[in-house]
């Protein structure tokens, strides 16, 4: 057991001291915070300038109503639209001359309201060189619609103000019912579930591949020959997997601490930048415990598979090919996110979350969305635990033979033989 400890220690210390570890540990939170700050800053100081437009009112009488509705303001506080001119019943060549003006940059755009727009037989047209800003802003669309609707109602003798009262919409608040009280749902449950699921996905791949590379390193540098002459192959394999896991947990501990600090000070920073409150995702303790359990089980499962791949290949290209099926299994779990998000407790969701290769990610997602019956979690953990034990056993056998085999990658039939070797 002492040798196992030595292998873990070496793996951990040499990894933690690498430049790659230090850089990724610092860069990831810095980037995350950077993106967050950038979002706050851009939200408060959005770029954009006032559009100078001309309205061509071929219908007559619509133009002024539309212009009245164009009260949208840019984040900087300026008007989004500045109506330079409104032409009622314009001459036939008006559009051509306005096109020329747009091209020369004298105005930014012109809005055409055809005569038949009132009875719905034609569309309003907005001619501009830069359509981006308008697509983002629905303001223009609303004010044109409102003006046309108002005109139609007016033609039928209905008072527009009454109608506005009658058709006023209702806000819908979504309240999440939970055992520990109800809370208003603004998407944070789904956001949290997806964040946790993605985190698990990224971690499984990154640290799984790191384990594979660690195994390959010892094989290609031939250190393995001395190692297996000194310690049990199972200790070497377990040492690799646990050492890399310890590195991963260290990194997460640093990030979580940094994250806590950012959340604590973030509100202050945000208010200093005159922005709204930060979107806050609260991770409860039971949820954190579930995340840890599923991460560790999933990591053991996948790291063993990746380690077996590392042991059976002799170079990077072979490794790239041989690891694909494993990586695809993890990616598949992410692709299945939608099924779970749509209905976490449907028979399909339940079934998928029981498949051990998807369980670490999908069951966690289900727990985050809507806690499934306890027996399902227990059954899932049972299946996952048994599968993981089986995979670790098989991986150890493949590892033991593979690390001493150089040359071409084994076929599936050869792998079966490896497992059977005494």
């Amino acid at each position: 057991m002492h040798k196992l400890w030595l292998v873990i220690k070496r793996e951990y210390l040499t990894r933690v001291r690498t430049r790659g570890f230090i850089v990724s540990t610092i860069i990831v939170p810095v980037l995350t915070v950077g993106v967050l700050v950038l979002q706050i800053v851009t939200a408060s100081r959005q770029v954009g300038h006032t559009l100078r437009i001309v309205v061509l009112d071929e219908a007559g009488g619509l133009g002024s109503a539309v212009v009245k509705g164009l009260s949208a303001k840019l984040p900087s506080g300026e008007q989004e639209f500045q109506v330079v001119q409104t032409l009622e019943n314009p001459p036939a060549d008006a559009e051509d001359s306005l096109r020329a003006q747009v091209l020369r940059g004298e105005i930014d755009a012109f809005l055409v309201l055809p005569a038949s727009v009132a009875n719905g037989k034609a569309s309003a047209e907005f001619h501009t060189r830069n359509p981006g800003q308008v697509i983002i802003s629905s303001e223009l669309n609303h004010s044109v619609s409102d003006a046309v609707i108002a005109q139609r109602l007016h033609a039928r003798g209905v008072d527009v103000k009454d109608v506005a009262q009658v058709v006023k919409g209702v806000d819908l608040k979504v309240i999440k019912v939970g055992t520990r009280g109800d809370s208003e749902e603004k998407g944070q449950t789904i956001a949290l579930a997806v964040v946790v699921g993605m985190l698990l996905y990224v971690t499984l791949i990154i640290y799984g591949v790191a384990t594979m590379r660690a195994v390959m390193e010892e094989k290609t540098t031939r250190v393995i020959e001395i190692l297996v002459a000194s310690a049990r192959p199972f200790y070497l394999l377990a040492g690799k997997i646990l050492g890399v896991a310890a590195v991963g947990l260290t990194q997460y501990a640093i990030w979580v601490t940094a994250g806590a600090l950012v959340t604590a000070y973030g509100a202050t920073v945000a208010s200093m930048l005159h922005a709204g409150a930060l979107p806050s995702l609260h991770l409860s303790w039971p949820m954190l415990a579930c995340t840890m359990i599923f991460f560790l089980m999933g990591y053991l499962l996948y790291a063993s598979l990746y380690a077996a791949v590392g042991a059976m290949v002799s170079n990077d290209q072979e490794a790239q090919q041989a690891q694909m099926p494993i990586t695809l299994l993890i990616v598949a779990a992410v692709v299945l996110f939608n099924v779970i998000l749509r209905d976490p407790n449907s028979p399909l969701s339940t079934g998928l979350s029981m498949i051990p290769f998807f369980a670490p990610i999908l069951m966690l997602l289900r727990i985050a969305l809507q806690t499934p019956p306890l027996w399902q979690i227990a059954l899932c953990l049972g299946i996952l635990g048994l599968t993981t034990a089986g995979i670790v056993f098989l991986a150890a056998r493949v590892y033991r033979v593979g690390i001493l085999m150089y040359g071409k990658r084994p076929s599936l039939a050869e792998l079966v033989k490896w497992v059977k070797y005494t």
Binding site: T221, V223, V228, A229, S230, A231
Partner: protein
């Protein structure tokens, strides 16, 4: 020489699928001796060593080390310098050695002390905190040698220990090997360099296709061949050696020529032929055949059988 055995291998067999890598091989390696394990490429030497090292388990047969069957703890009592050298290239020299010594059960403090001694003895002290990758190949080899001996193993397995070393360093390693032997270590040497075997080994085993084709004390083996070889230095026409019913084989080394006689060939006939042709003889010596010739004869003989 100690009479008790350091390693006893009894009828071991190892199969890889259809290939019989080692076939019913038995070895007895005396304590305190230098034992040469010889054989052509692919003869099963590495597989045999790996089984003694407990990296692999024989399909049949048994191996004992120092009177005990192999266990995890016997692994701590063997030192191993594999033919394919390898160290963690991005670790510092001293750290690698500390780790490998730890895996052999050596405490960190004691390991550190001994590693520093060895680094000094092999003139690597100034490289202690360099990464392995910064070292020359010869220096890496010396570091690997330290890893093999630092835990003072009673049994030391060295696979081609001199390749890649210059004559000075090869000499240092050779002296250390002889020192270790004097202090009671048993050394198993696997190499293709027959002159090293002749100089260092007490006993040998020559294996071919997984089977022993020749084993015993080196001196006894050579004696059994008798002085059937003439070592010559001459000036003049080599035609006097052209006597097929007298000469079995001729080896030209430039200055020296070695002539192996047929079983009943008389060396004096060669001398007579030389004198008759006016060839000037500067050296004429009857010797035991070099191990190299025995090796070739045994291995190619087996191939024809």
């Amino acid at each position: 020489m100690g009479k008790s055995a350091a390693v006893v291998v009894t009828s071991i067999t190892k199969r890889f699928d259809e290939v019989l890598a080692v076939n019913n091989l038995s070895l007895r390696i005396n304590e305190g001796s230098v034992f040469g394990l010889l054989g052509p490429n692919g003869a099963g030497k590495t597989t045999t060593l790996r089984m003694i090292l407990r990296i692999m388990v024989p399909d049949e047969g048994a191996i004992e080390m120092l009177g005990q069957p192999l266990t995890e703890s016997t692994q701590d009592r063997i030192g191993y310098l594999p033919e394919e050298r390898g160290l963690y290239t991005r670790m510092k020299v001293r750290e690698v050695l500390l780790f490998l010594a730890g895996l052999k059960g050596l405490g960190e403090h004691e390991a550190g002390r001994r590693i520093d001694e060895w680094l000094e003895r092999l003139e690597l002290t100034s490289w202690t905190s360099n990464k392995v990758i910064d070292l020359s190949k010869g220096m890496q080899q010396k570091v690997q040698f330290i890893a093999a001996v630092v835990h003072r193993p009673p049994v030391l397995i060295l696979d081609e220990p001199f390749t890649g070393l210059d004559p000075v360093n090869a000499g240092i390693i050779k002296d250390i090997m002889l020192d270790l032997r004097k202090n009671g270590s048993t050394i198993i040497l696997s190499t293709h360099r027959m002159e090293q075997v002749e100089m260092m080994c007490d006993s040998i085993c020559l294996i071919n296709r997984g089977q022993s084709v020749l084993d015993g004390e080196l001196s006894a083996i050579k004696r059994s061949y008798g002085k059937n070889t003439v070592r010559l230095e001459y000036e003049g026409d080599p035609g006097f050696l052209d006597q097929p019913n007298l000469v079995a084989a001729i080896n030209h080394f430039g200055a020296v020529t070695e002539v192996r006689l047929r079983p009943n060939g008389d060396s004096q006939e060669i001398l007579k032929a030389a004198v008759a042709r006016g060839v000037r003889i500067n050296r004429f010596e009857l010797v035991e055949p070099p191990l190299n010739d025995i090796f070739i004869e045994k291995v190619s003989g087996a191939a024809h059988a």
